[in-house]
Amino acid sequence: MAEEERKNEGKNQYSIIIPTYNERLNIALIVYLIFKHLRDVDFEIIVVDDGSPDGTQDIVKQLQQVYGEDRVLLRARPKKLGLGTAYIHGLKHASGNFVVIMDADLSHHPKYLPSFIKKQLETGASIVTGTRYVKGGGVHGWNLMRKLTSRGANVLAHTFLWPGVSDLTGSFRLYKKSVLEDIITSVVSKGYVFQMEMIVRASRKGYRIEEVPITFVDRVFGSSKLGGSEIVEYLKGLAYLLVTT
């Protein structure tokens, strides 16, 4: 399978879906960095903006003037409608045979995109997911509490779900388009449980999943999204995944 895909290397197109909400500056930076690091790759960037009030869409239009409307696509939606549906919306407009999903806030650095692509070509994997938790990867900007809850959540998920990947909640991933389309329709969770459900369902269906180390720089200091309700939501999500996958 990997051999065949290597021969088709020249014909692969990568659709990079980036959901945005109030990422006026970051979207410009990230588009620049993607073009910088994917020089000889056939790709398109699909920005799914949920009606940002800060003028994100105007910036995207300026970027289209610089890079071309065929490389930077704006597929906006009227208001905040959720991450899962943003991916589905982006998928409808994706012409590539591979789809990359990543965050717009530069916590996911485009410099890792070549390693995702390379890993997929080497192994023929259906999904390549970025992991922050292995050597070569890492996190910056997390305090001890955040690391503790992350590690605790990870151990819990591994004990009960046996997922086969080290980073379950990561959202920096490369999918074969057909695989993404197959899984995303059966996922019902929201938030980061959504990302967990995606990878667990893929694992259960027997899709080959590979990992590459990535570094994650959290620039949103102080907004520790980990209150009691987050923990409850996580446990409920874990229980749901335990029983339904």
């Binding site: 410009a28 890492g138 605790g152």
Partner: protein
Amino acid sequence: MLTFGKLTNSQDKGAPFSPMKHIFKIISLLAAISAFWVGLLQASIIPRTHTWLLPIYLVVSLGCYGLLMVGVGLMQFPTCPQEAVLLQQDIAEAKGFLKDKGVDVGSD
């Protein structure tokens, strides 16, 4: 436990099929352990009083193992302070390029 996951991932099936639900794997495992425990109770190789306590020992050991894993993972948590610096450089580079091309890279 990681190996269970790896075993199913090594072949890329891709085509739709119905694997055994994960919860059934866990239930089977628990059933096997329970059967073994009941067997021990009946065979009386180990004194009965000890055997009755075995499940508690198991749960406590698992709990300790879990806590150990959390602690070890916390100590070995990979960090990358240099990445923050590199990112600032990338941002400066990007802003410079885009400003020249007429993209508004003003305030956030």
